[in-house]
Amino acid sequence: METKSIMIVGVGGQGTLLASRILGSVLGTAGYEVKVSEVHGMSQRGGSVVTYIRYGEKVYSPVIEKGQADMIISFEQLEAARYVSYLKKDGTIITNTQKISPMPVITGAAEYPDGIIDKIKAMGINVIAVDALSAAEKAGSARAVNVVLMGVLSKVLPGIELDAWKKAVEKCVPAKVIEINEKAFDLGREM
């Protein structure tokens, strides 16, 4: 099979790294060669963060560039807008509808763009927009947005058993919050 490329994008502190570890773990268990590329450090402090996951029979580069992604999972609307150019023409984007203002918007130096999701749809891109924050809060913690979105992804991504997803979630989240995250994953699947 051709190498597939998935990006996870969001705001530092939203738990994108954990999501990429769950996805990497699931794909590895499914027998693919997997590479996951993260960037730590400066980008964590409320900045724009991006993780690349590539999988297939043989993967060389761990990095995804503009026009190369099969799928993007965005934790925030503005980040969906920022990275949509990374998608292939027939790509899919799963985005959380949550909005988090970046500092230039907070200080009034820039405006948060309107109608992002409609604009992305108008590009001919397949958009799945979900309110992952409400679902996470319903599951018991606003921090579970990442696992809600993995639940959404599990319905879209072909070839992976539900049980493998559940095991990966269990393996990757801290023991204290397994129940909340199991619930968050199920709520994601229902969206």
Binding site: G41, V59, V63, E65, K66, A81, S85, P102, P104, A110
Partner: protein
């Protein structure tokens, strides 16, 4: 068994399997996790520590090696500047137990103040350098580095880059080599580097380089993969992955696993087999220069660049002339720069410094973000510790004109790293400089490592804590004041008072990092919409939890940790607990 590992985690696994028993490092992105993962192995197998800085860490590794242990230290590229002094002479003494130093370069500067290429250090110190291209190689090369170190009697550098350190790929694990400590024998000629001994050792070092070149030619660490006689690529590390991704079987490859010293015959033979030969290397033209020096015609930096990361599309574009296509969203997308976190204890200090309009000599850490809008409080940032010595120089340079109008800001961990000697300079050479230690009780930016000032070691066990107040007094700073930076009025009063003094002074702004799990937060604050006049006074502190609106400010309750800084700025009593 195979499992997904970060490159850094795989290096740590390699250390474990190689029977390494002493690890000493100072944190630095993207190298930090090597030491963190190493510390997860049993302490009686691999002893790990955070050293105050990279020079100390490197010297600990040298001492452990002389004692017969296999030893290790890790650092980021700029950390090797600090550790260069011991490294250059450890190259002369050689090793007893194997010694490996890992250095992580940061092409693209994801989290660094410059983009230097550490390969120059391997050339300068005349030590071998290995460069892995994925996590499996991280582990394998770490182990191989110890064999090379002991075989050739030399420290070995393992060179990583951000994309290798922070990418996960599959790694097959093996058992740890059980190693018996060799006997320690005093050997003055080998280990005491006075001129008479060092003169002899330099001859040994040059012969060692010749032996290592022979190793580079024949050992199999550098591999040739013939696919095409049209296009040849010489590359190493992550660039090998980019080249393979972009060119696949359309090119032949000479993959250099050892980037110092470089082979000559191997490259000449490869060059003879292909029509056009490219060198694909991020940062400086090290391999390219080597090829040209040996009369090998290559294409390199005239087509690529000295800046940033390459990736597969660049290789495809340069070598094949093919361009990827993509579509862009028709909208202005505001940037999202990193910011000081909600509740960050540094915010109050920077707000006051901006208000007072003083010159701020800055340093390396989370608090470098105090340079970002709207606080924009910092004037300079160069390297670890430079805030303090730089301020002293600034005050001397302006002949005292800025004394009372300039401060240095430095974090607790950075102060331990290389701020102390700078403070000694202020006391000893007398400038009326005011230094603020932003003591948040942790090494923050690299992801929360303990340090010599916070009372815990790498394992989280209780440790001796440097008493900053007593240290400053001992150095000769008589005016030392501790302030809570969460109290704006008090912080302003103390800074003004210390600036006015005709003597050097130290302010310790002490409040723990808001992200520490041990810190108890108040519930989020909220805005009384009836009282808020939307004057935006509170917005001047640049808190990500404050959101501007048409009628009034709101507080994002998923971010606010109830630090109360904004409440102190509201003249209309609109911000409530």
């Amino acid at each position: 068994m195979s499992e997904l590992m970060l490159g850094n985690q795989a290096v740590a696994r390699g250390l474990y399997e190689a029977g390494v028993s002493v690890v000493s490092s100072y944190p630095g992105t993207p190298s930090t996790e090597i030491t963190e993962f190493s510390s997860k192995y049993p302490e009686d197998e691999i002893y790990c520590e955070w050293a105050p800085n990279e020079k100390v860490a490197c010297e600990v590794a040298i001492g452990a090696s002389m004692a017969g242990a296999r030893s290790f230290c890790a650092m980021k590229h700029v950390g090797l500047n600090v550790a260069a002094d011991p490294l250059f002479t450890a190259s002369y003494t050689g090793v007893n137990g194997g010694m490996v130093l890992a250095v992580a370069d940061d092409p693209g500067m994801h989290s660094s103040q410059n983009e230097q290429d550490s390969r120059h250090y391997a050339i300068g110190a005349k030590v071998p350098m290995l460069e892995p291209s994925d996590s499996q190689e991280c582990k394998d090369y770490a182990k191989l580095a110890y064999e090379i170190s002991e075989k050739f009697d030399t420290p070995v550098i393992l060179r990583l880059t951000t994309r290798v350190s922070h990418s996960q790929s599959a790694v097959t694990t093996e058992d740890r080599i059980e190693r018996t400590l060799p006997e320690y024998k005093k050997n003055i000629a080998k280990n005491v580097m006075v001129p008479a001994n060092a003169i002899k050792k330099h001859v040994v070092v040059e012969q060692r380089t010749l032996d290592l070149i022979e190793y580079a030619e024949t050992s199999g660490i550098n591999t040739v993969e013939m696919n095409s006689d049209e296009i040849g690529v010489i590359t190493s590390g992550i660039c090998y992955q980019y080249a393979k991704e972009a060119l696949g079987d359309k090119a032949s490859y000479l993959k250099l696993g050892m980037v110092n010293p470089l082979p000559v015959k191997l490259i000449k033979d490869f060059a003879a087999k292909v029509k056009t030969l490219y060198v694909i290397e991020e940062l400086d033209d090290v391999i390219e220069t080597h090829c040209r020096k040996n009369g090998i015609d290559v294409k390199g930096k005239e087509l690529f660049t000295l800046q940033g990361e390459y990736f597969q599309s660049k290789v495809k574009q340069v070598v094949l002339g093919e361009k990827d296509e993509w579509q862009t969203l028709d909208a202005e997308i505001p940037v999202r720069p990193p910011v000081l976190c909600a509740g960050c204890p540094h915010r109050g200090v920077f707000y006051i410094l901006k208000k007072l309009g003083v010159m701020v000599s800055g340093d390396i850490g989370c608090y470098t973000l105090g340079a970002a809008a709207p606080l924009s409080a910092i004037d300079t940032t160069v390297c670890m510790g430079a805030s303090i010595s730089g301020l002293h120089g600034f005050n001397k340079g302006r002949k005292g004109e800025y004394e009372g109008k300039a401060v240095a800001v430095i974090g607790d961990s950075t102060f331990m790293h290389s701020g102390i000697t700078s403070l000694v300079d202020i006391a000893y050479n007398r400038s009326n400089s005011t230094v603020i230690v932003l003591d948040n009780s942790i090494t923050g930016m690299t992801g929360h490592q303990n340090n010599p000032a916070n009372g815990k070691n790498i394992y989280g066990d209780p440790a001796s804590a440097v008493n900053l107040e007593a240290l400053a007094h001992a150095i000769g700073i008589n005016s030392v004041t501790v302030v809570n930076p969460g109290d704006l009025a008090e912080t302003e009063r103390v800074i003004k008072e210390e600036l006015a003094k005709a003597e050097p002074s130290l302010i310790i702004a002490r409040k723990p990092c808001a992200l520490l799990k041990t810190v108890k937060h108040k519930p989020p604050f909220h805005i009384d919409a009836d009282k808020c006049k939307n004057c935006k006074s509170c917005m001047r502190i640049g808190c990500p939890a404050l959101v501007s609106g048409d009628k009034c400010i709101t507080i994002d309750n998923t971010l606010c940790v109830g630090c109360g800084l904004c409440e102190q700025l509201c003249k209309f009593d609109a911000i409530k607990e």
